[in-house]
Amino acid sequence: MTLQTIFILILLLVGITVILSFVDVMLGGSRQMLLTINKDTTLPASGGGTLLDALSQNKIFIPSACGGKGTCGHCKVKVDSGGGDIISLEENFLNRKEKEEGVRLACQVKVREDLHISMPEDLLEAKEYMAEVAALEELNYDTKFLRLKLLSPKTINFKPGQYVQILVPGYEEYRAYSIASPPSQKDMLEFVIRHIRKGLCTTFIHKALRVGDIIKFTGPYGDFYLQENSKRDKIFLSRNTGIAPIRSIVMHLKEQGMPTEARSYYSGRTKNDILLGEELSKIEEEHDNFKCYVVLSKPTPDDKWEGETGYITDTVPKFEESLDDKEYYLCGPPEMIDAAMAVLSEKGVPEEQIFFDKF
């Protein structure tokens, strides 16, 4: 390379930089934008990034499982102004009502101007936590019980029934798990986790995790939680690991001295699928107004099962005198929830008395 070439090159780079800096200034550049949440909190956000990044830079963790690729649809926020047009990728996750209200996926909204967004207050309380694995025990052939000791922050506040998102190391993706321990236990969280074949996080927890490992999670999230102020009797329907949030709620109710009547209907295929059965039976013995029923859908001969069998949706009407004056908490696989919803609405239970969490 001759000196002349180098000279041209430098001249060219300087020229381009000058022109583009000029353009950059004219177009607003990467200056700081303002992000206003719920009209009261204003935070800085660097222009050019996504809304999701801007939120997490400000330590606001909204649910997101795919790492900002627009494939999970969890990071919904309401953008009141300044988000630009909806992009085609988002349309798969938004229904018509949400589109009209201006709901967007935070990972697809670019920060190009000042933004005004609204989101539920409790999302603002979600934080990132570091925790140590304190216990990891087998409950049955495919389910483990995980206990996490919080390291920083040292305590967490949540409502019984809510979930957290555990970060899968290496993949940097999140997976949601309901908290199974009561909210009074602020420094230790418990989970019931079933191994799903080829499942990213469940394989991690079942095959790779050891006691003493440090993992990260964010939370708490979710609008499936106990309605503390309601005086209605409570009916819990769950299947398999759906018992986790129910356990949290029941233990919380027990600590409150069982203020209302409560009954838990818990189903599994065989006796082996029934998790943490003794714990609920013990609470049942201590409190007259709490009952728990176990329903097996396909008991094996070895189970020597003499209790309820068949569908949980058939069992509930058998023991409940009236259905429409109770409050329902459903947690389990989608098929179970859908079947239960159909039965309940047929019996005239108003929708606002039903809360559910699909696993």
């Binding site: 002349q4 070439t5 041209i8 090159l9 381009i16 022109i19």
Partner: protein, 194 residues
């Protein structure tokens, strides 16, 4: 005159940049979902290719060759393209908002479109004159427009009735469409040559 027509027809048909040289695949697969966006992209490419190849011809022949700087020509070309695209976007947004709304959104995508750099490299390789460059640039970008519009048209119809196997959905089936189109374009072979 025959030379001009020759270059134009050859770059549209027998030497189509997408279907024969296989350049500009990202937009041909990514932005060909419907006819309207495909035509917007095509128009933007016509604009950018014509302008950048003229500028690059001037820079190469008037600055780089006399000073012996051919070795850095690659870097110069790509920077010229990137800068031109950015300037063009800004100017259009400010002074011709109608045009900008029609295909402005596609402009930023063009910087990384290898068809644009490809045209510049070909014209240097073939030692075209300034006028030939203009014709070649117009022809090639028209060829790009033609190809992406054809693919988009097929995709629009195909989406209504087509039900490819799961692994072929998306880019896979588009490649097959491109393959069939490329087969068809081989039929132009021998009509004109460069």
């Amino acid at each position: 005159m025959s030379d001009t027509l020759n270059i134009f027809l050859a770059s549209v048909l027998t030497h189509n940049i997408v279907l024969v040289y296989i350049l500009g695949m990202c937009p041909a697969i990514g932005v060909s979902k419907n006819l309207k966006t495909a035509m917007g992209m095509g128009t933007a490419v016509i604009f950018v290719v014509t302008i950048t190849s003229l500028i690059n011809w001037l820079i190469y022949n008037l600055i780089l060759v006399p000073t012996g700087g051919e070795i850095i020509s690659l870097m110069v070309f790509i920077i010229t393209i990137a800068a031109t695209v950015q300037l063009l976007e800004m100017l259009l947004e400010k002074y011709l908002p109608m045009l900008y709304s029609a295909f402005g959104v596609f402009l930023p995508l063009i910087t990384v479109n290898c068809a644009v750099l490809g045209v510049t490299l070909f014209l240097v390789l073939r030692e075209y004159t300034l006028f030939q460059t203009l014709v070649f640039a117009l022809g090639t970008s028209a060829g790009f427009f033609l190809a992406i519009t054809l693919v988009a048209g097929i995709r629009e119809k195909f989406d209504l009735i087509g039900d490819p196997p799961k692994g072929l959905q998306g880019p896979g089936i588009v490649m097959i469409m491109l393959g069939i189109l490329a087969l068809g374009f081989m039929g132009f072979g021998g009509m004109v040559d460069l």
